[in-house]
Symmetry: C2
Subunit: 198 residues, 2 copies
Amino acid sequence: MDQIEPIARMISALSHLPGIGQKSAQRLAYHIASMPLEEVRDLATNLWQGRKAVRYCSVCGNYSVEDECQICRTSMRHNGQICVVRDPRDVMAMERMHDYQGLYHVLHGTLSPMDGIGPGDIHIQELMDRLQAGDTQEVILATSPDIEGEATANYLARIIKPLGIRVTRIAHGLPVGLDLEYADEVTLSRAMSGRREM
Amino acid sequence: MDQIEPIARMISALSHLPGIGQKSAQRLAYHIASMPLEEVRDLATNLWQGRKAVRYCSVCGNYSVEDECQICRTSMRHNGQICVVRDPRDVMAMERMHDYQGLYHVLHGTLSPMDGIGPGDIHIQELMDRLQAGDTQEVILATSPDIEGEATANYLARIIKPLGIRVTRIAHGLPVGLDLEYADEVTLSRAMSGRREM
């Protein structure tokens, strides 16, 4: 016997989510089918209402409930620093560190000529507009150390430096706790070339 | 900065699902927040409408859209065999095998004195009522080979045999493809005691 239709629909909807394959989607659908009605209603409502309530901050592009996000609105952050990241998840990761007190700019993507994603396809113009306003002393490029992330960082450095703004790149090296022998060559090479005096 | 409230609600709702921890829930919520509105509406609708459309088959207890499930309704199955399983997911697993042509009975749980789950708390009376009807020649006990599954199988065998119905237990042994040296002792002991002539 095939799956009954309502469960087949649940499986199909769930299996489109990232990291949820056919098997996990099946397990989740079977679980949801046995949950009390009101719990499933709450789940569905939270997803739908949550999605409707979220928009992008008009300044930095991070997730926000208001026109400007909490980070851009508060006077508690240093507005001389802008940390450039690929997507809102990266803002969350940086904020978990509880260390950085500047602002953010979310690109919503990285340059990828292979996929036809050029400077006009991600939020680079919005960043340049913010920099023209003149408050920024430093732009920290925090895109990932992969090909697209590096290409994006290099491109941004080239167009921002002429504005007389300091441009930095977050350090890449051995993650804390990783045994040297398990590090891949590229990471190790970055760790070597980024070595500092002790 | 903390998570904005709509995303915090998504994370909380998702993290109650089985196999989805705090980190996966965060990743999923951030993804859903960036999905097109209509896709999130479809996801929420499929979960909620799906849950509302699912009920338990009045005969075997499997998930069903109608009062009786597809398997109980069809005339294509042998109605002399009833395979007893713990929950609807086990029916799905058995059906994937495309081998068994009999009926099912879903207990919706297993006996567990430790958790205070006795015979009256799972669908045993419903099974006995079906057996009294007289069509059944064999009951196949397919609960898991763990303590609760074994206790449930033993209990059912004891009360069903007096009805003059054949009671069998699915075989437990080495899973196909598993190296002998990785098998745990209990599985190995089951495999030994269940050995057959070649």
